[in-house]
Amino acid sequence: MTNEILIAGFGGQGVLFAGKILAYCGLMDNKELSWLPSYGPEMRGGTCNCSVCISDEPVGSPLVLTPDILIAMNQPSFDKFVGTVKAGGTVFVDSTLVDCACDRTDIKIFGIPSSQLADENELKGGSNIILLGKIIKETGIFTLDTMKKAIEKVVPPSKAALIANNFRAIELGMNS
């Protein structure tokens, strides 16, 4: 069983950080995994994406071209990648920023106003984490416990005060 995840958005939205949390979830659950950021010209143009593979087998190509799960945090990313999602796949969208209308019927699309939720709950920049909460609720790819452990691992000790906020963001996403 392999889950190929693609996270895409603007630089500064926490695309790579969200990917890192998913990668650490895999590490916590003793899975095989890879995390690959875009670092090419597209990143220098302000957009950013990140491939995460979580698997029971050693990961082959770490570059996700046909994701099982897509997280789209801006319109260009949604438009560019929604067509690449595998049939039966799932898409999570920050619906505050993205119009996620799409004529595909073989995938599930969840629009969550995650930017708005983050602002309303004084979780500035927490839209990415809210989306992760929604993902674990809808896909069951990881447990809440695993994700909390991963967050504790990813947030650097100098910013430990932010762990509680991240936990709050996850729960907001799960309940959205």
């Binding site: 590490l27 995994l33 950021p37 670092y39 990961v59 082959g60 190509s61 770490p62």
Partner: protein, 352 residues
């Protein structure tokens, strides 16, 4: 062993420190910069020296100086930077000074691009600088292998008194994977018979040099070095064989490309196509024996690279051109997809 998540570039740096590397000289270039950044953060605390040189050329010559005194020293760069270092690497080889050089390849030629490539295969294995010489060249395919191969590279460089290279690429350098660090013996080989270090006039001077004006002396030096190369060829060539026992088509690929190929092979096997892979883990010495064994029962061979086709020459030589060797590659920073490789495998037929 505890598993950590690390970028390939960071894992290369940490492995070098644990292998007893005391001096790192670097100059930033995408996509290897995290390596130098990690060294800047860690090396001083680990009791070593990190120095950002004014250029790649300066950095490699600092490695020549430091390694001449017998300490373990390393430099790293990406393709255009390695070209700049080539003069110093030739001097390292000509002075019989062991050191480790890391190339996290990007697209070329010239300034090229910043995306992953394997276009420096010829440079690494055939002609990294002027003169008759070789480096031992390791080609990792995972972050864990980057760690293991850095440790091996330092050990083998010391054992044979030759420079060694890790030939990686931007994909491996940038990706994170779980990695565990093996226990590494703190003991290092005795270099007191040749190292040019302080001795308070207690012995004759040691001279580390690559200049031999008398042709016969120089020829003897080179012939002695080639005797060491012969031992390296005999003992150090290494490859991974994947599903080759019953394979009708054998794919040869190294580094990041081998991961793409593995995905394609798994898909092809699911369709009943008998295909396997031979993955060189050292590209110099080239694992000729392993390739011949892997291809013994195959009717066709395919070489897949992130270049216009460079390793394919060595594959053909290893097989004495006795089997047809086809090629598939993407270049300039484009990463081949498993689907493209699968299409190529399908187009070659292959007995089910």
């Amino acid at each position: 062993m505890e598993r950590n998540l690390m970028k390939g570039n960071e894992a290369l740096a940490e492995a070098a420190i644990r292998a007893g590397c005391k001096c790192f000289f670097g100059y930033p270039i995408t996509p290897q910069t995290e390596l130098a950044a990690y060294m800047a953060k860690r090396m001083n605390k680990a009791g070593g020296v990190f120095l950002q040189a004014e250029s790649e050329i300066a950095a490699v010559n600092m490695v020549l100086g430091a390694a001449s005194t017998g300490v373990r020293a390393m430099t790293s760069s990406s393709s255009p930077g390695i070209s700049l270092k080539s003069e110093g690497i030739s001097y390292l080889a000509g002075s019989d000074v062991p050191a480790v050089i890391i190339n996290v390849e990007r697209g070329g030629p010239g300034l090229g691009g910043i995306q992953p490539s394997q276009q420096d295969y010829w440079q690494a294995t055939k002609g990294l600088g002027h003169g008759d010489f070789h480096l031992i060249v390791y080609a990792p395919a995972s972050v864990q292998e980057m760690v293991d191969m850095v440790v091996t590279a330092f050990n083998k460089a010391d054992e044979y008194r030759v420079p060694a290279m890790i030939l990686a690429d931007g994909l491996l350098g940038q990706m994170m994977e779980p990695v565990a660090f093996p226990e590494i013996s703190a003991e290092q080989p005795d270099k007191s018979s040749w190292a040019a270090n302080g001795h308070k006039n207690s012995r004759e001077h040691h001279i580390v040099n690559s200049l031999y004006i008398d042709p016969k002396t120089l020829e003897d030096k080179i012939i002695e070095r080639y005797e060491r190369y012969a031992k390296i060829k005999e003992n150090e060539a290494d490859a991974e064989l994947y599903l080759t026992d019953d394979a009708d088509i054998v794919v040869c690929a190294f580094g990041a490309t081998s991961r793409v190929v593995k995905s394609a092979i798994n898909d092809a096997r699911a369709m009943g196509i008998k295909v396997g892979m031979c993955r060189p883990k050292t590209v110099w010495p080239f694992p000729e024996k392993q390739i011949r064994e892997a291809c013994a029962n195959a009717s066709k061979v395919l070489c897949v690279e992130m270049s216009m086709g460079q390793m394919i020459d060595d594959v053909k030589l290893a097989l004495n051109c006795e089997k047809p060797v086809e090629f598939f590659g993407r270049t300039g920073g484009v990463i081949p997809t498993p689907a493209e490789v699968l299409d190529k495998i399908k187009s070659m037929g292959g007995n089910k």
